[in-house]
């Protein structure tokens, strides 16, 4: 698929290089996603303010502000924003906080390609 036919703009917010590479690779393998990356909560919020990506994959354990605070800020900018929390942490307290802030999905690492792709499919539901 050519660059011009790609139609989903995704922001990946992740400070761990390996995780970033894996997620980018999965999203690129679909052929329909343009990926941009941010390493900190601040970079993510700045990028979101300027570009309004269709979907944001947001790690929780990132340099300030953390993923939960970044989710809060993004939803304040755009309540309809689709933000997928990606994390190694599945504890219910964090999940419930993400739900209460309006997270679109919650994916626990390690990344399984079909989970990521299912989330992309949900974008059009």
């Amino acid at each position: 698929m050519t660059e011009t036919s790609k139609k989903i703009n995704a922001l990946i917010v992740e400070d761990d290089f390996d995780s970033l590479e894996i997620l980018t690779s999965i999203l690129n393998s679909t052929g329909i996603v343009n990926c941009e990356t941010a390493r900190t909560g601040k970079q993510a919020i700045d990028y979101f303010t300027e570009n309004r990506p269709h979907i944001t994959f947001l790690d929780i354990d990132i340099p300030a502000p953390d993923g939960i605070e970044t989710l809060r800020a993004i939803k304040k900018l755009d309540p309809a924003a689709k933000v997928v929390m990606v994390t190694g942490c599945s504890d219910v307290k964090t999940v419930k906080t993400a739900v209460s802030l309006g997270a679109f999905a919650y994916i626990v690492k390690p990344y399984v390609p079909k989970k990521i792709i299912n989330v992309l499919k949900k974008l059009n539901d």
């Binding site: 761990d16 590479e21 894996i22 219910v92 690492k109 499919k121």
Partner: protein, 226 residues
């Protein structure tokens, strides 16, 4: 009965006898099972592992089946969740379905009913095939190789964290390995990483330090085998 499925199903019920019975029936039908006794653990396990379906009791302590299902559906968890309850009032069953349950099975549960329910909802129909993309696989192989090459650095970080009694650093190492090691097939490293993080979260520092020794041994084993 055939035992050809490789799919795993999570059974959630606070009654041990119900859990054992339902798990046994599912195993007899050829499914693998895990089980837990409350909704909170069910949410965590459902997000962490790749189950084909969940069987969820309604009335449970800590978090009941309704709330657990509501939480999972709020974050677009799309695997089938079947409610299990002794409730037989149509209005209440309708309420379960409106909350996001995929189907309902009335207690006492019988194997034939479970089989019918699973077949009716053909639990794999909405799943997409795993990505078999060559570039993705190559990238994974490449990163896996780099992970192994990086093991001496990880070992040094563990030593430094232990020597300096820096529990926050040790927790960070455990957390990172929990997330990435199993991606490369090093499940044991990921599990020890998770154990370290959990122990530190529960202030069980001696346990975390002991696990750090196991972690080093496991990392050394991987390095030698490559």
């Amino acid at each position: 009965m055939t035992k050809s499925h490789s799919k795993k199903i999570l059974v959630v019920d606070d009654s041990e006898s119900n859990r054992l019975l339902l798990s046994f029936m599912l195993q007899e039908l050829g499914y693998q099972t895990d089980d837990t006794d409350n909704g909170e653990k069910a949410v965590e396990m459902a997000l962490e592992f790749d189950y084909s379906a969940l069987f969820m009791d309604i009335n449970m302590p800590i978090m009941d089946g309704l709330e657990a299902t509501k939480v999972l559906r709020s974050i677009n968890f799309d695997k089938p969740i079947f409610a299990c309850s002794a409730e037989d009032e149509p209005n209440k069953i309708k309420k379960f379905m409106n909350l996001g349950f995929t189907g309902y099975i009335c207690k006492p549960i019988e194997a034939i009913g479970i089989q019918a329910l699973l077949e009716q909802h053909s639990i794999t129909s909405d799943e997409v095939e795993s990505v078999k993309n060559e570039n993705y696989q190559n990238k994974l192989d490449q990163l896996s190789k780099r992970f192994v090459e990086n093991i001496p650095v990880i070992l040094t970080k563990i030593d430094r964290a232990v020597e300096n009694n820096s529990i926050a650093d040790l927790k960070r190492i455990g957390h990172k390995l929990k997330g990435t090691a199993s991606q490369f097939g090093f499940d044991r490293v990921a599990k020890i990483g998770r154990d370290i993080e959990t122990a530190i979260n529960k202030s069980k520092i001696p346990v975390a330090l002991e696990k750090a020794i196991f972690l080093k041994a496991e990392l050394n084993k991987i390095r030698k085998n490559q």
